[in-house]
Symmetry: C2
Subunit: 325 residues, 2 copies
Amino acid sequence: MSASADRSLAQRLLDGDNRALARAISLVENDDPAGWELVRELYPQTGRAAMVGFTGPPGVGKSTLIAALTRAVREAGKDVAVLSIDPSSPFTQGALLGDRIRLAEHFLDPGVFIRSMANRGALGGLSEAALQAALLMDAAGNDVVFLETVGVGQADVDVIDHADTIVLVLQPGSGDSIQALKAGVMEIPDVIVVNKADHPLTDTMVREIRGVLALGPKEEGQWDIPIVRTDAARGDGVEELVERLDAHRAHIEAEGTLLERRRRNLRNEVLALATVRLRRQLEAAIREDADVKELLDEVVSRRLDPASAASSILERHDGGDDDDR
Amino acid sequence: MSASADRSLAQRLLDGDNRALARAISLVENDDPAGWELVRELYPQTGRAAMVGFTGPPGVGKSTLIAALTRAVREAGKDVAVLSIDPSSPFTQGALLGDRIRLAEHFLDPGVFIRSMANRGALGGLSEAALQAALLMDAAGNDVVFLETVGVGQADVDVIDHADTIVLVLQPGSGDSIQALKAGVMEIPDVIVVNKADHPLTDTMVREIRGVLALGPKEEGQWDIPIVRTDAARGDGVEELVERLDAHRAHIEAEGTLLERRRRNLRNEVLALATVRLRRQLEAAIREDADVKELLDEVVSRRLDPASAASSILERHDGGDDDDR
């Protein structure tokens, strides 16, 4: 509770104490000022972990794949943290609980830290907390941080964008995802995994992906996106995937693109944090300000257009706090 | 160019001149102040069109379905506008050009207005322009406005959210989408269409959708989401879909939820417009301000954490303009 207790929390976290890490992440998740303070204090100790993000439609086996990868990375003597972003469902709260069970074999291993965060649906709210949690996992000395999200929604992509290496996991028959990739709805990943590769449509799938990738621009020294076939439940292909992930990391380190990526990602993060705060301030202003409510009523009754209302609110908001009273 | 020329543009638009509408949308799309001024002027004439949004993965036949619906609505003597949101692809610029061709039969009909807008990828940038375009289509006297987006990305959902009726289009086998629906990644639509319903897996698909919907909360007087089977290319099921769309509109009008929805949507639009502007101001500040660049360098070198940098930027930005010089 006190500053000294929090200092010791930071110290325990740096020493690799998973309970301290869990508590620190809870503080961040609950938007507790002590959580932000912790991140501020620990930030200089970050930047060492390899951040690997996994995206792809629900049900393709991302959690099983991450469990298998975790096994492989642990065998190499490295510490691992897994951060899963669960979208909250209007239908079934906690529908993805089953995913956690796939990681159960690692629950008792002190070298593995597993945490889920729920999607709150608010603009940037989750990305904000998730990115802070990832920083804490990094500071705690984990060599690898796996970020897992569900679906191809924009909010998910935001989190994944902060990974050093982005893995897209598909399964034979996920034609929707290939279309999304082709249409540019989805970010281009660094590594593509076709999981459940014992399926008879695997070859077709790989061919389709190659077709989409062939449409992309080719540049000198550019990373050649590998397509890795895995059967995560049986561990097939996981070794090759580990090699490809290491190769990608070596590539971006050698080309200097790791630093470039992180610079861009951190710039976007700062901007996103600032925007979320501004939006919160705005929302508070809209909630509390009677004049703003009147403005909105005018918009609803079609007397004032939305853009003009936005301008008026911004004007009020800008000078507001000091001048009004 | 002059104010009087713009006034006449507004008048011509109100008279239902499609060329005037096209020009007005271009002004909005190019972020021309004259475009915003037009929307401001015409806004009191909006709110009469039925706004119907279509979402769903690429390739399920949304454009073909909209072409068939347009035919049906035209036969009822109503004017139609179609706004398609094309995601710009890093691979293939204009990959969705083919979609426009599906609407070709309507190109020469003065009672049909068709327009595509490209996804610029910027935060809110496209939704902003697309919503203004939809307002202009409404003001031009169109009885129905069809909003079409691609994919299940957040940016798309934002636009669709402003429809009075949301239609999710699927095809047999789009399991990814059912999973996304189940996981809550996707908004719950008002009407679900299973297109290409001659496919042998159609019954399975309909059963799966029913299963997902059955998980949802049931409330008294609640709209019962219909699942309509169509074969849009042959026109099968389109008549039923038109009936369902009309029924949904009658339902939300009777229940008073249409006004409620529009109030919520307009509130969100005002907030989104204000946030986009704030973010632009921030981005400009970050670009131009040498001190802000220094802050970002400190973040990259791990001396200053992202949240503290965001706070510093907001503080500078808040008092900045007036105090600095």
